[in-house]
Symmetry: C2
Subunit: 527 residues, 2 copies
């Protein structure tokens, strides 16, 4: 990690005025890694926000094609990061090499997908209502609408995705695509990774002649509050805990000018196992579900934390098999010591509860996390026991056995908002399932049939969001191209001469994009 210099990134330069020095840690050994990171001072936090604000007018005025070039250049730089980089990420997070390689490809792919969105042009949201000078009783003026970036965005890196939800991750990609400069708060768990990715972004910014301050990054604990409260920041993206996300929302709401926060927080991702599916392929489901529970050491927002089945011989035999599969899974190193402590505490609470029994998993000890399976009495769920609503971050799931299909909807109505909810079902199970599916739609952002929620595809149709506490605002997503919407606002031009309009709204339609003209979608120019 010879290239690590550990200073904050402000307006295209490096700055380390403070005297608090932080170290990154080898997640396996707990040993400090070489090098230091200098916590941003208050003045540096302000300077980073100000740098983004200074870059904003220039950056948002660039054509979408120029911004697309920037995102593509970031993707190229990310793909060019070598084995040393991968090794650094693995050391900081204890995540396996193959996972990090996959996550890197996802992260550069995400940048390229947003570049495609910029070229496609639907994000402009172009709408034109032509003048009707002869309308009675009043003429209608010419009115045209498109969307622009809201302003500088503060992004908080997630512990569990050092690449895809961090420095050059989905929130950064969406904000940059929208024309919003970014101030990124590096996660303390992977500061060296953050630095190497920030370097890649700045190289891309240089190659494509982006304004200084289009991307800024600060290190340190407690710097986030000052950042969110800075008057230049106009929106916040966050992936992390319910407590952390909620705190950011409250900071943002209490500003002189309140700003929107999109916080992706807590979800237990219920899996509903229906009878015919268990009859036909119970063993296979037990194998697949165990793999999903332990994937990434359970450190995924979409980890299946609640498994609901209906009492039957098939469910009992499925449970035996699942318990045995979970018991067979090896312990894994977690992202950092704090994550392990939280996992141990969460497991401890489940062990301590009288209505919850332990089904499988070696006694939790040492420096690694052992996968665990618990079973809770259905009444705990029906009574709204908090422990069953709470995400325990790690390789653990809780089974609830219900009496009947009828009780299923009662059990579901006790649950809070979720990122995902999954049906494992055969066609027979899904007959007359309309009411059940309607209930699922009301509780989650993504509904799956015969899949596992881990693995979030980056595409146009993805929703990685959902009702509180899954996120702070169910109207957004932090994965997929719709994520750009969080950072755009509409603007209307009344009676503007065509040459003073943004290209998306000019008569000739120079971008060749789809536009809603007098209520009809078309690509035609206006004459």
């Amino acid at each position: 990690m010879s290239s690590i210099i550990g200073l904050n990134y402000i307006a295209g330069a490096r700055s380390g005025a403070g005297d608090i020095r932080l170290q990154s840690v080898d997640a396996q050994s707990g040993e400090p890694l070489p090098g230091f990171f200098v916590q941003a001072t208050d003045a540096e936090v302000d300077a980073a926000a100000q740098a983004a604000a200074s870059a904003y007018p220039t950056y948002r005025a660039l054509s979408a094609l120029r911004r697309a070039e920037f995102l593509d250049a970031i993707a190229e730089e990310l793909d060019a990061l070598g084995d040393d980089f991968i090794a650094t990420v693995c050391r900081e997070t204890a995540l396996p090499n193959a996972r990090i390689l996959g996550e890197l490809a996802r992260t550069s792919g995400q940048m390229r997908l947003f570049a495609k969105v910029l070229r496609r042009g639907d994000f402009h949201g172009a709408r034109i209502d032509r003048a009707m000078p002869d309308r009675k009783p009043l003429p209608r003026p010419d009115l045209r609408q498109c969307r622009m970036g809201v302003g500088p965005v503060a992004v908080f890196g997630a512990s569990n995705f050092p690449l895809a939800f961090s420095t050059a991750g989905g929130d950064t990609a969406a904000a940059l695509a929208a024309g919003c400069p970014v101030v990124f708060k590096a996660h303390s768990g992977h500061m060296a990774t953050a630095e190497l990715v920030a370097d890649a972004i700045l190289r891309a910014a240089g190659q494509t002649a982006m304004p200084d301050g289009v991307f800024n990054m600060i290190y340190g604990g407690g710097v986030g509050e000052r950042l969110v409260k800075h008057s230049s920041i106009q929106a916040v993206g966050f992936t992390g805990s319910l407590k952390g996300g909620r705190a950011l929302c409250e900071m943002a709401a209490s500003r002189k000018q309140p700003i929107p926060v999109f916080a992706e927080m807590s979800s237990i991702n219920p899996m509903l196992l229906l009878p015919r599916a268990l009859q036909q392929r119970g063993d296979q489901i037990a194998t697949e579900l165990a793999a999903s529970v332990v994937q990434g050491c359970g450190q995924l927002c979409t980890n299946p934390g609640l498994i609901i089945g209906i009492r039957s011989p098939e469910f009992s035999s499925f449970l035996d098999r699942l318990a045995s599969n979970i018991a067979d899974q090896p312990a894994q190193t977690m992202l950092n010591a704090g994550t392990l402590r939280s996992y141990q505490a969460g497991i401890g609470r489940l062990h301590a509860h009288a209505g919850i029994s332990h089904l499988a998993g070696q006694a939790q000890q040492g420096s690694q996390a052992f996968p665990q399976l618990f079973q809770a009495d259905v009444n705990l769920l029906l009574e709204g026991e908090e422990l069953l609503q709470e995400e325990v971050f790690g390789p653990v799931s809780v089974v609830v056995e219900i009496d009947s299909r009828k009780q299923l909807q009662q059990a579901l109505s006790a649950l809070q908002g979720q990122l995902t909810v999954t049906l494992i079902a055969e066609p027979d199970d899904l007959e007359n399932a309309g009411d059940l599916i309607a209930q699922l739609e009301q509780m989650a952002g993504r509904l799956l049939v015969n899949g596992y929620p881990t693995g979030v595809e980056v595409c146009d149709a993805m929703v990685h969001g959902g009702p509180y506490p899954a996120t702070s605002d169910a109207r957004g997503t932090s994965v997929g191209t719709l994520a750009i919407d969080r950072f755009l606002r509409p603007i209307c031009y009344q009676n503007y001469p065509s040459d003073l309009l943004p290209e998306a709204l000019q008569d000739a339609n120079p971008l060749g994009i789809w536009r809603l003209i007098d209520g009809h979608s078309c690509k035609e120019a206006l004459v």
Copy 2:
């Protein structure tokens, strides 16, 4: 007003369990009108929210076409309201007959426009990414996205638009279109109007077999807080004061489950008068602008409250003419005694300020509002004097004379967020105006050239929104079809059988709508 019974509307029935009785007032005479309105009790507020929650699963599951029928039926019922109704609205608000007739047509037209949006189907936001079973390293599942209503919406009526921003106004229309039942908090200034409109909505609901509780209405002071804090309410629409809107935002943010609030609040709608335009048609501008300032007794969110010009003989002569026009305008009765008191207080603050001089307007006295024109020293604007940022609700505007075009951008940067900002300009004035327009884009939701901000067209391209404090969230609009977006959230279906998907996403595209399929917009069915 023999049909007024004054009870709250809950789940399709009437309820008046409380003992606080309110009276509506003749806005001209200040005399109480016959009849009483019973303030909702806490239990009734809860029941209204619960009724909306009970209606939600049924209502949102109706096809968009069925909801469109409901909106069209409301429009028909509104149009059928007779002279007695118009007379009631005029008595409660002191607004003239012609204005109320126009506002009624706008309100029914707004319902019909949302019905059109429902039939057009772009609000579904349908996106499909087809499965790629052979993709390496991992297959892609079938992923489909559309949007659904967020849940019951609380809507607060505005004082100044008893129809278009009230019971059956834009927020109600947008929420009902989105599939969200409404609990409407009637404004104390026009409770009889609210009752007659609520009756019209319920007749339409009956004719089109909508579920009980699709629309509910409560009367009373202080009932709004309990409503916003009710766990069933999922979003809030509000038009009113900065203080009121901000209080609602804080209530919503402090709930166990925070919810979005779209509050349209405070804007002074700057008018920038450029030199060539004043040279060529100064007198005409003075006439038109005076008419805009006094329109509706200045009780419009888009009232031009700040007029900026560059020192010149033309500007001086324009000012003389404007002052004379304002002085000539008659006094008008305001919406209610409280509005007049606020206007008097606002005028008083302007009179009292040493840096502000009075240009025109009779001494404010009696029961009507006299139009007023003031001039403020440019330094007050440059120094961010609060008084110049503050909307004084009524027929008043403040002129600021600046030294040069260069100072214009400095003056603008001292301003807060606005609903509108207007350029009065000839083509010569707009040469090299790129930087100026960029600045305007950053400060407002709607930009006009050679028009007046009063008069907000209801159409696809309208934005009645803007940066804080114009609204609580610049990403929304409360007028025009995009207003529906505030009350929709995306949902993703992964690997769902086609027959279990919403119609918008089914293979055959039974709705015949535009969909984004694998990144391309098309109307084709999937085979």
